[in-house]
């Protein structure tokens, strides 16, 4: 399982988990789960175009994901309807399918880009993953207070001189980078699960924001390592384990919380 040729997969997957767990925490706190759903979809045609024109996949992903940020901001500013947003996202997916079909490796690349191919990670993928995987948590951690404050209390943030729009643009851009990093590993459709499953569980289990952030990263790491190991042992696709484990992470803390007897408040005895 830890053979040298798989080392790249473990390293890149771990970097993906740290960045996704970190970004996911802010996604849940700032209630931006739609962006976490939309940005990987926007990145998809970028990877497809890179395959068509023979460019490095990571460049296509990053450019398209950042383009997705501009699109999201445009949709938000014009207050477009849900229908317009949904149609644009679907059109982006369809554009990706066109690029892939013209590239001539339609069948394999569709599966890889939608559901991920963790063991296809090569030595050339490590350096870009290292750059993105360290930059995303670094930016998010250095912006910890303004990122939370502008989401939880916009008024207070304004008093403190924090521009909410600027923070929003910054956050979405970092989220786009995290999505671009995660897409080849988990696939466009499951980036959302990896980002929000661990983070949502962490935010229920502990109160303190710092502890929740740490727990979110730890759970994301545990999730991706389990997915990798189980995928290696069963030779079933890692995407299956990622999706199901993330769904369990959504469900388990909520069941635990309801099953636990409610603490008695002393005043009402």
């Amino acid at each position: 399982m830890f053979a040298p040729y798989l080392l790249n997969a473990w390293v890149v997957a771990s970097l993906v988990a740290v960045a996704s767990g970190c970004a996911g925490f802010f996604v849940v706190c700032r209630r931006e789960s739609f962006a976490a759903h939309a940005l990987p979809m926007a990145a998809f045609p970028g990877a497809a175009a890179a395959a068509l024109f023979g460019l490095g996949q990571v460049y296509g992903l990053v450019v398209a994901a950042l383009g997705g940020v501009a699109l999201l901001l445009w949709l938000k500013r014009g207050q477009r309807s849900d229908a317009a947003t949904a149609l644009l996202l679907v059109a982006l997916l369809a554009l990706g399918s066109l690029f892939l079909s013209l590239s001539g490796r339609y069948a394999d690349s569709v599966y890889a880009l939608l559901f991920g191919q963790i063991f296809a990670v090569g030595p050339g993928d490590v350096l870009p993953a290292l750059v993105l995987g360290l930059a995303v948590p670094a930016v998010l951690l250095s912006g910890f207070r303004p990122l939370l404050l502008s989401a939880l209390s916009p008024d207070l943030a304004m008093v403190r001189g924090i521009g909410c729009t600027r923070i929003e643009i910054l956050f979405l851009s970092v989220l786009a980078l995290a999505a671009a990093l995660a897409l080849p590993v988990t696939g466009a459709l499951l980036v959302f699960s990896l980002m929000t499953g661990p983070a949502s569980a962490a935010c229920i289990m502990v109160r303190s924001p710092r502890a929740a952030l740490a727990l979110s990263v730890a759970l994301a790491l545990a999730l991706i390592w389990q997915a990798l190991a189980l995928s290696y042992l069963t030779s079933w696709p890692a995407g299956f384990f990622t999706g199901v484990l993330a769904a369990l992470l959504y469900l388990a803390p909520r069941i635990w919380r309801t099953a636990r007897p409610a603490p008695r408040s002393p005043g009402l005895a």
């Binding site: 789960s33 759903h37 309807s81 849900d82 229908a83 317009a84 949904a86 149609l87 644009l88 679907v90 059109a91 997916l93 369809a94 554009l95 399918s97 066109l98 079909s101 013209l102 001539g104 339609y106 069948a107 569709v110 599966y111 939608l114 559901f115 991920g116 696939g187 459709l189 499951l190 959302f192 699960s193 929000t196 499953g197 949502s200 079933w236 696709p237 995407g239 299956f240 384990f241 990622t242 999706g243 199901v244 993330a246 769904a247 959504y250 469900l251 909520r254």
Partner: protein, 277 residues
């Protein structure tokens, strides 16, 4: 007189006939059901059902049965999961439904490729393959759409009332829960046909697009349903024709039908919105 070389070959091909029939059936039912979906603000439910039903499409490839059965079976399961959900936990439902549904799809598609050697399984389930649909699928889709329209006609009045004003509907004695449940079954059927036409993850385009465009033109339910069905059929048939013609643009390679249909839907929606402004 039409250019018989082009159109004679086009309409005489049984593959094309099958594709046109599936596209029309999907467009008509999705257009009509889509109007209610948009009116009820259930676009998200349609999207979630599509993602869950993709697992059914993958399962049917694995079992070698008609994909329509698979899409519909899992779509019904997804509808069941959605009925139990309370208001306000949309993220939770999304997390669980999308995670398990798409995870399962990943697994079943993997099995379909490795065990049964279905090449292009992911493409046909997720992005559709009208030209590769099984020969009888067109007729089956036609009857499925007919059944859906009849079912909708049965609950038309209470559904319309409940969609516009649920309090008034319950005062008038309509069983809101029953109507909502039946509507989710209809939604699953519409998603199934759309998934057959353009693929599971693009089915939102056919379900929401023509209906939203029609509602921009007219708010009267009858007119909107008629227009939505017309828009949908035009987009589907136009897409099939363009994909057929694309064989000559890039030698030896047909552009995906779903790309054309989705783009046409987006164009129609943009035109309807622009006209409104």
């Amino acid at each position: 007189m039409f250019d018989s070389l082009m159109f004679g070959g086009f309409l005489a091909s049984t593959v094309v006939q099958n594709a046109l029939l599936i596209g029309a059936a999907a467009a008509v039912l999705s257009g009509i059901v889509g109007v209610f979906t948009v009116l009820r603000g259930q676009s998200f439910a349609g999207h979630a059902l599509a993602d869950v039903s993709s697992a059914g499409g993958a399962l049917s490839l694995l079992l070698g049965i008609n994909p329509m059965l698979g899409f519909f079976g899992l779509g019904l399961l997804g509808a069941l999961g959605l009925t139990g959900r309370r208001r306000g936990d949309g993220d939770l439902a999304a997390g669980i439904l999308l995670g398990t549904g798409l995870g399962l799809t990943a697994l079943l598609l993997h099995f379909a490729v490795t065990m049964r050697g279905v090449a292009g399984a992911a493409v046909s389930v997720m992005f559709g393959s009208l030209f590769a649909a099984p020969p009888g699928a067109g007729v089956l889709a036609f009857f499925a759409a007919l059944a859906g329209i009849l079912l909708l006609a049965l609950i038309y009045k209470p559904l319309l009332l409940a969609s516009l004003d649920s309090e008034l509907a319950s005062v008038r004695g309509a069983n809101i829960r029953l109507v909502a449940g039946v509507f989710l079954v209809l939604l699953a059927l519409a998603v199934t046909l759309s998934a057959m036409a353009v693929g599971a993850i693009l089915s939102t385009a056919l379900l929401i697009g023509p209906a939203a465009a029609a509602l921009r033109v007219s708010r009267r339910p009858w007119v909107a349903m008629l227009l939505a069905a017309l828009f949908g059929v035009a987009c589907c048939w136009g897409g099939v024709a363009l994909a057929y013609a694309s064989y000559d643009w890039t030698p030896g390679r047909v552009w995906p039908v779903s790309f054309f249909i989705t783009s046409l839907v987006l164009l129609v929606y943009a035109a309807a919105s622009w006209r409104r402004q």
